[in-house]
């Protein structure tokens, strides 16, 4: 079996990609208009939506970067993961009902359109669409690059595919992604998310078992080995320390309700009351798939500091090193398919909201015009965005990696005050919303581009989000509330 490891892994990934294409073809018949393309016709069931929510939240970072940081910094890494439990609570309590009701009332197809309806301001909604686009392109570029690099590494292990270049890997990955997103739009995206989510959960549970049996004493022995080497890295704050971990917890938890690719899913359910079941199912799925993060992270740190394994030259290799050394070939195949699933489930959401921002939001909100034949243009724009993101990933890889780090925080700064707080606070006004985004971005940009390290490694995104929320609150209180549509105003109190 071991001799066929590469073939098994390749077979699993090939099967996964063919499945994505099949879903795209199936979804094409169900995509008849832009409502289907951007919002899956707002006809999604509870199970599919909840899988889409957690699969979009858990990007490739959870399968590669997360275990890598655990290897590098011990338990500090897990604050990013555990924050999602309270983060999803905040998101559903604040937005689960209100986003769906407002989307239903105004027939909105995107988050910027919701913002425009809430503040009765096309300009504010348009600014949100503009703020969204760079983030979408960069996030997408990071995901496409991750897919291409992983595929390239895998193909090198097979004799008859080792000559395939990185460029062709970009083309293959983009083609599969674009195919199902163009043909099936959001319908394909969420149904592939459902399958991707199930693969991620299965992969994580299998990895948990494999990790537990890596050493005879299981996780207890691993914890003891890590503690003997450096007690702090097995204590709750890890190597990064209390303040760094708490600020990560702040930005990750509060930031969930500002991630447009996640919150847009809340607008797609068939019934407004579906959010009641979405919350436990989404969070349950996330926690189960995040077990992989913990399992691989702890195992690889323990086996390396315990001298059972050679040190890694790149912390991000923690997952692939674990799968190569300690996992059955079939499990490695499932987990690599799970990795592609995690990356693609995030990437397809970004493709969709990016196309919506350009084809649907900007013409309506900034130019007061509606594009004729929106569905065709949405498909064309999906291809253009994917190609653009792939080119960015290929030609500006260092910058992309750096900017990719900003993604979560940037979205949090833009959308947490404006959407999560604004949809719950009638007093919030458009000046407060616009100034909060501006001030948050200015502060974050200054810290990030000056490469300033805040004391105790306080997360710059957490600091900037705190600035944005404070500005939003103070300006909205200090200036008179805007006049908004009476039914929207009433809906905010329902």
């Amino acid at each position: 079996m071991e001799a066929y490891r590469s073939y098994i892994v390749f077979g699993c990934i090939l099967a996964y990609m063919l499945m994505c294409i099949a879903v795209g073809l199936w979804a094409m018949r169900r995509t008849k208009n832009t409502s289907d393309f951007f919002m899956a016709g707002r006809h999604l069931g509870v199970l599919v939506t909840s899988a889409a929510v957690f699969a979009s939240t858990m990007s490739g970072f959870g399968f590669v970067g997360g275990p890598g940081i655990a290897y590098k910094s011990g338990t500090s890494s897990f604050w990013m993961m555990i924050s999602i439990s309270v983060g999803m609570c905040i998101m559903f309590f604040l937005l689960g009902k209100r986003l769906r009701l407002l989307a239903g009332l105004t027939n909105s197809l995107s988050v910027p359109e919701i913002v425009a309806s809430r503040y009765k301001s096309n300009r504010t909604g348009g600014l949100m669409a503009i703020a969204l686009l760079p983030g979408v392109l960069i996030y997408l570029a990071v995901q496409i690059k991750a897919m291409a690099v992983v595929l390239f590494d895998l193909l090198q292990d097979l004799d008859w595919t080792s000559s395939i270049s990185l460029e062709w890997c970009f083309v293959i990955c983009c083609s599969v992604l674009v195919f199902y997103c163009v043909t099936g739009g959001m319908v394909a995206s969420v149904y592939t998310d459902f399958i991707q989510g199930m693969i991620m959960i299965g992969a994580a549970l299998l990895v948990f078992y494999a990790a537990m049996t890596t050493l005879d004493g299981g996780f207890t022995e691993m914890a003891q080995i890590i503690t003997a080497d450096d007690p702090e890295s097995m204590q709750p704050w890890g190597t990064m320390g209390m303040i760094s971990c708490l600020s990560i917890y702040f930005i990750m938890a509060f930031g969930v309700c500002g991630q447009p690719h996640v919150i847009s899913k809340l607008m797609m359910t068939r019934n407004p009351e579906d959010s009641r079941h979405l919350l436990p199912l989404s969070l349950g799925g996330f926690i189960l798939s995040a077990i992989l993060w913990v399992s691989i992270g702890i195992t690889m740190r323990a086996v390396v500091v315990g001298d059972f394994h050679l040190p890694l030259t790149d912390a991000d290799q923690a997952s692939s090193a674990f799968l190569t050394q300690y996992a059955h070939p079939a499990l490695a195949g499932v987990v690599f398919a799970g990795l592609f699933a995690a990356i693609m489930s995030t990437a397809d959401s970004f493709l969709n909201i990016g196309a919506a921002a350009i084809v649907h939001d900007l013409p309506r909100l900034m130019f007061n015009r509606k594009i004729s034949n929106e569905l065709t243009w949405a498909r064309v724009m999906t291809v253009i965005i994917a190609v653009g993101a792939a080119l960015i990933a290929y030609f500006a890889e260092d910058t992309v990696a750096m900017l990719g780090v900003m993604g979560w925080s940037a979205f949090a700064i833009a959308f947490v005050p404006t959407v999560a707080l604004g949809l719950n606070w009638r007093r919030a006004n458009r000046l407060g919303a616009e100034m909060s985004v501006l001030s948050g971005f200015v502060v974050y940009g200054l810290i990030f581009f000056n490469e300033t390290t805040l004391p105790f490694d306080f997360h710059p995104g957490a600091f900037s989000l705190l600035v944005a929320v404070t500005v939003f609150f103070l300006i909205s209180l200090a200036t008179p509330p805007d006049a908004i549509e009476p039914d929207v105003e009433e809906l905010l109190e329902l």
Partner: protein, 194 residues
């Protein structure tokens, strides 16, 4: 007066941040490269691949108070945000006290677990190489996984159980449908783009 909780939380968060930023920053506050060179920077690695935390007491002693303040206020803030999301003009007032008591209890447990985690961690300072274990991990780490990550499940249970009473009551849903119908009748709603 109704904005007082938000004002207090924001103010205390800023006090915490100010305290953190003005505290003397020990060299190993955020860890340092592993003392074994082959782990910190193995051949072929372009940057540090593994960090160590150092001595817990030394690097946390001065900032523990500010960190505790920031942490507790963050958790209080999150609990208040969750409670804020339960507002509905049609909520069931008959069982409101019962529901809000439960919400407060979950919030208190959430903060208590955080404090227990901090205490468990600080109690390991005297004998860091032989910490007490709870399950597979040191007590503080287990509380992080099961407590900080697990206690919000209490909010989820309340969300599911009291959804019809406090999140989206039947009256609100009915009114929502009326609002949609009146929009449709007035032709106000965005036309489907098909």
């Amino acid at each position: 007066m109704k904005y007082l909780p938000a004002v207090i939380v924001l103010l205390l968060l800023w006090v915490g941040v100010f305290q953190i930023f003005t505290t003397n920053h020990p060299d190993d506050a955020s860890g340092y490269p592993h003392t074994r060179q082959e782990l910190a920077q193995p051949d072929g690695a372009s940057q540090t691949m593994m960090f160590q935390g150092g001595t817990g007491r030394d690097r946390h002693m001065q900032v523990a108070g500010a960190g505790l303040l920031f942490g507790v206020v963050t958790l209080v803030g999150f609990s208040l945000l969750i409670a804020w999301g339960c507002r509905s003009r049609n909520s069931n007032r008959e069982i409101a006290a019962f529901f809000w008591n439960l919400m407060v209890m979950v919030g208190i447990v959430y903060i208590a677990v955080f404090l227990m985690m901090v205490i468990a961690y600080q109690s390991s300072w005297d004998n860091p190489y032989e910490p007490h274990y709870l399950g597979a991990f040191p007590v503080g780490t287990t509380l992080m996984f099961l407590g900080i990550c697990g206690v919000p499940a209490g909010f989820i249970v309340l969300y599911v159980l009291f959804y019809r009473e406090f999140i989206l009551p039947e009256k609100s849903l009915t009114r929502f449908k009326e609002l949609v119908d009146s929009r449709k009748a007035a032709g106000q709603s965005y036309e489907d783009a098909s």
